[in-house]
């Protein structure tokens, strides 16, 4: 029993370390949408053509989203002058939950409200959180599903790459 378990555990560990990646390359135009935002007016994705957009789907009840937010804010402050923005789409059914979260974890980038999940469906969101990197031409380039500490380094690399294009 012990030997079998040892063998299988070691195999799983080795195989998983060999194969785990966390960003998928994407193709195709990012679907356009318009949502209410916390900036006082509605925001439309097409209006950001020419800028690099980091589209992030998050919820107030999602632990990893909580970890990610302050790190995203750092990236936003660093690169927003170079033609980059973050659009954080909140999926809470009750927007009051999102606002309460933002009071505890304030961010400087725009937050959009997708309380009926239409845009989440449009983007086939299958993990919380989900981040889609969109280039200056409005094409989807990278997908991140979930968040684990260390992902923010990949975000920075991809943002720098897309800004330079």
């Amino acid at each position: 029993m012990k030997q079998v378990l040892k063998f299988w555990t070691i195999s799983v560990l080795l195989i998983s370390w060999a194969f785990t990646t966390q960003a998928t390359p994407l193709k195709g135009a990012a679907s356009d949408f318009t949502l209410k935002s916390n900036q006082g007016k509605n925001l439309r994705l097409e209006d950001f053509r020419g800028q690099v957009v980091m589209l992030n789907f998050w919820a107030s009840w999602c632990g990893p989203c909580r970890q990610e937010m302050p790190l995203m804010d750092e990236i936003y402050k660093k690169y927003s002058d170079l033609g980059f923005t973050i659009l954080a789409v909140n999926v809470d059914e009750d927007t009051a939950d999102a606002d309460r979260f933002l009071k505890a974890v304030p961010v400087s980038f725009p937050v959009l409200y997708d309380s009926d999940s239409k845009i989440s469906e449009l983007y086939n969101v299958d993990a919380m959180p989900t981040t889609v990197m969109i280039d200056r031409d409005g094409n989807k380039r990278f997908l991140h599903r979930g968040y684990q500490s260390g992902y923010e380094e990949d975000y920075k690399k991809q943002v720098k790459q897309l800004i330079r294009e």
Binding site: M1, V4, L5, W8, T9, S11, V12, L13, I15, S16, F19, T20, T21, Q22, A23, T24, G63, P64, R66, R100, F101, K103, A104, V105, D126, A127, R145, G146, Q148, S149, G150
Partner: protein, 397 residues
């Protein structure tokens, strides 16, 4: 399909079977690896401290229970706990054959959780010490999330080693244990969750209490009409428990949970447990809850309150825990929570107070202390109630 798994598992709980299931689970997990797979989350970092107190049936048992958990990197979480039972007892068993005593039991554990993709593997080692009893156990489990995180499948295996001593004797007896667990949880809707658990335990060795005694009719004992002799249990015991639970979210923000557990074992004991829990948040910080539990069991084959004469059976037990009895619990609780932002670096701070009132009623265990002076076998049936208090402070950081 999931039901097929559960049915198959229920029919065939044997050691070889579990070995294979573990092998299968880990193999299938590694075979279905894909590039860019999703991962689950580790248990949250926490410091959970509890003051627990049990008062009833002539016994008062209280003490601390502290658990600390810290994640290391993205994949590992370390945890450890410290628990003490301080016993001061003058229960009906004790008063019948001995005098009041105090005792202390200390339990510690150390564990590690490893998260890989959607699989969480856990290992924990526990040690428990009293002045005449030592117990050690090692526990391993694999928990797998799949089908878009709607289904969770968990397998657990534990080994236990007990050292049963007796004050005044230098030698100890052994008892060993194997525990096999299977569990499945399924998200049904945005508001509902169901779960099923199966657990088989096999014990082997010295399973009785070295101090506890049974009574038998003894005309030679003119004072009471009965005499005592030490209990004698079988050297093996196999038990199976199967539980179903359902959790439902009510639209005004409240939850209701129902549970049923069926149990039986090789000693002839059969029991049913019913649990109902209602949780009601008053606002963002205050949550109240109420619970009801009903437990009933039938006796062990070799149990009797009063045996006809000395050594009338190979196995003899008069432990009320093995008798025909039922227990009813009414519980209430209140908690106050401070969320993220209230205190820097603290994600959540929760204060909880829970109070349970339990009433035990025995159908064939008699109170010989209350029945002193009465004819043998006509003493009143025993019953007692107990208050269980739990006051805890939980910190997530």
């Amino acid at each position: 399909m999931a039901l097929g798994v559960v049915v198959a598992v229920i029919k065939f709980t044997s050691q070889a079977f579990f070995k294979t299931i573990f092998k299968l689970l880990i193999t299938v997990n590694f075979l279905t690896h894909s590039f860019n797979s999703l991962a689950g989350t580790l248990p949250v970092d926490t410091v959970d401290s509890l003051y627990h107190r049990y008062e009833g049936g002539g016994m008062t048992i209280d003490g601390p229970f502290i658990l600390v958990r810290k994640s290391v990197g993205n994949q590992f979480s370390l945890s450890g706990h410290y628990y003490v039972d301080s016993v001061s007892a003058a229960s009906v068993d004790v008063l019948a054959t001995a005098s009041a005593y105090t005792e202390e039991r200390t339990e510690v554990s150390a564990g590690v959780d490893y998260l890989n993709e959607k699989t969480l593997m856990s290992f924990k080692y526990t040690n428990s010490e009293e002045n005449d009893f030592t117990a050690n156990s090692a526990f391993f489990s694999v928990s797998q999330d799949f089908f878009g995180d709607l289904t969770n499948f968990t397998l657990g295996y534990a080994r236990g080693w007990d050292d049963v001593g007796q004050l005044g004797k230098s030698e100890t007896e052994d008892a060993d244990r194997h525990i096999y667990q299977v569990g499945m949880t399924q998200v049904l809707t945005k508001n509902a969750l169901i779960g099923v658990n199966l657990e088989t335990i096999t014990d082997e060795g010295f399973l009785q209490n070295p101090y506890r005694q049974v009574r038998f009719i003894d005309p030679g004992n003119t004072a009471r009409g009965y005499s005592y002799q030490l209990e004698s249990y079988p050297e093996t015991r196999t038990s199976t428990a199967m539980a179903f639970r359902g959790l439902y979210y009510l639209p005004y923000r409240a939850s209701i949970k129902g549970e049923y557990r069926y149990f039986n074992d090789s000693w002839g004991i059969e029991s049913h447990t019913y649990d109902l829990l209602y949780v009601h948040p008053l606002d963002d910080q205050w949550i109240v809850e109420g619970k009801f539990r009903y437990y009933s069991q039938t006796q062990a084959d070799f149990y009797q309150d009063l045996f006809p004469f000395k050594d009338s059976q190979t196995h003899l037990a008069r432990d009320k825990e093995l008798s025909n009895f039922s227990g009813t619990t009414f519980g209430a609780g209140i908690s106050y929570e401070l969320g993220q932002g209230a205190i820097t670096h603290i994600d959540r701070l929760k204060f909880t107070l829970l109070l349970d009132y339990i009433q035990f009623e025995y159908d064939n265990f008699r109170d010989v202390v209350a029945g002193e002076g009465l004819a043998v076998g006509t003493e009143p049936l025993y019953e007692f109630d107990a208050w269980v208090t739990r006051a805890s402070i939980t910190l997530e950081y």
